[in-house]
């Protein structure tokens, strides 16, 4: 991979932990850079408060490497890189706040490596814990799975209690 593209990719993925977020931010980044390079004034009204600082920080670094000639080439390559990353799908029984999402993403990257994306999905039936999908394989690590795993023991306890 081109070192410049590698640098841009690392910078981009540094604070983007989910694939959805990464693709959304790429779209904003593309718009932001296009405006920066080709327009006299960026359309800041489309950028949220959460994304603003991140974009400004990223753009200041990226603009040292990206110009009007390689803008589309780099951004297309960046998009392809994001699409090619195999995400870890995490089913959670609760809604995760954005801050905690970043904490979770950081934790996972500390465990599994920097170029790692997750995909968060909601499944309240899991009760607690989570279920994971990796490479198309689903595995349940939730309380629900533990209950199912110890179903016979639980039922025996209930039957014993009911006999009393």
């Amino acid at each position: 991979m081109n070192p410049d593209l590698q640098t841009i990719t690392d910078l981009f993925l540094k604070d983007s932990f989910t694939r959805t977020e990464a693709l959304r931010r790429l779209r904003l980044f593309r718009q932001f850079l296009t405006d920066k390079i080709f327009a006299s004034k960026p359309k800041s009204e489309l950028i949220s408060q959460e994304d603003g600082p991140w974009l400004e920080s990223l753009a200041s670094d990226a603009l040292r490497l990206i110009n009007k000639d390689n803008l589309n080439q780099y951004l297309d390559a960046l998009e392809q890189t994001i699409v090619d990353i195999k995400p870890l799908v995490i089913f959670l029984p609760f809604e995760l706040p954005l801050g905690e999402l970043h904490a979770l993403g950081s934790k996972i990257r500390s465990m599994l490596g920097p170029k790692f994306l997750i995909d968060i999905k909601l499944d309240p039936s899991l009760i607690a814990g989570c279920a994971l999908v990796w490479g198309g394989v689903y595995k349940d690590f939730s309380i629900k799975a533990k209950i199912e795993g110890q179903r016979s023991e639980i039922l025996d306890i209930f039957k014993t209690l009911s006999k009393r």
């Binding site: 959670l92 934790k107 607690a128 994971l132 990796w134 690590f141 309380i143 209950i147």
Partner: protein, 232 residues
């Protein structure tokens, strides 16, 4: 009957003898007359001829009278013989008729006796045959009854086995159905218990577990997934 034939034969023989005698006499007279004519024709003199003729006529008259006498005698004898023969014939006929009657009566008695014997034999044979047939019929009926009894026993046993088997199958099926229903109900109860537990835990843990606790469980799950090499 043989006597009647002998009688008829005797009559025929008598008549034949009579006709033979008459025929001989006639031949004799003809020869005498021929001789007389020859004697007359041989005479040379008419006187002698006349004398001879008269002698001849006389002689012929004598012959004729003798012949007539003879014939009358013969006829009389014949008539007498015929009467005798007729009488004999009638007697013989009566005797023959009586014999025949007696014979017929005897033969009839014999025939009746034979017929009676035949009937008795036939009766005995019929009785014997009837007895034999009855015995055979009895044997066949006994065999048939024995076979029927055996077949009936076999059929009854087979039917009993089939019925028993069918009932056992029905019972097995019913038991299986009951067991299946029981298992289904128990499984349903188990499902309800687990669903109730899950619902309770879901409600309780949602209130009791903090976000940190939830995330700790997530991190624990991730570490377990890495340890299990689920995520490579």
């Amino acid at each position: 009957m043989p006597n009647l034939e002998i009688l008829l034969f005797a009559i025929a023989a008598g008549l034949s003898i009579i006709f033979l005698v008459l025929f001989i006499l006639e031949q004799y007279k003809n020869s005498q007359l021929k001789k007389t004519i020859e004697d007359l024709t041989s005479l040379e003199k008419p006187e002698k001829g006349l004398e001879a003729l008269s002698v001849a006529i006389k002689r012929s008259q004598e012959i004729i009278s003798e012949a007539e006498t003879e014939s009358i005698k013969i006829v009389s004898d014949n008539r007498h013989q015929t009467q005798n023969l007729t009488k004999d014939y009638i007697e013989e006929l009566q005797n023959a008729s009586l014999d025949i009657k007696n014979q017929l009566a005897q033969e009839l008695r014999l025939s009746v006796d034979e017929f009676k014997n035949y009937l008795n034999e036939l009766k005995s044979l019929t009785n014997e045959s009837q007895e034999r047939l009855q015995n055979q019929l009895k044997g066949q009926v006994n065999t048939l009854l024995a076979n029927f009894e055996q077949n009936l026993t076999d059929f009854t046993q087979k039917t009993e086995k089939q019925t028993t088997s069918s009932v056992e199958l029905e019972l097995k099926s019913a038991r299986s159905l009951v067991e299946s229903y029981k298992q289904q109900q128990l499984s349903l109860v188990d499902e309800n218990i687990i669903a109730l537990l899950e619902k309770t835990l879901s409600l309780v843990l949602a209130k009791k577990l903090s976000l940190k606790d939830q995330l700790d469980l997530v991190y624990e799950a991730l570490e377990k997934a890495i340890a299990d090499k689920f995520i490579v």
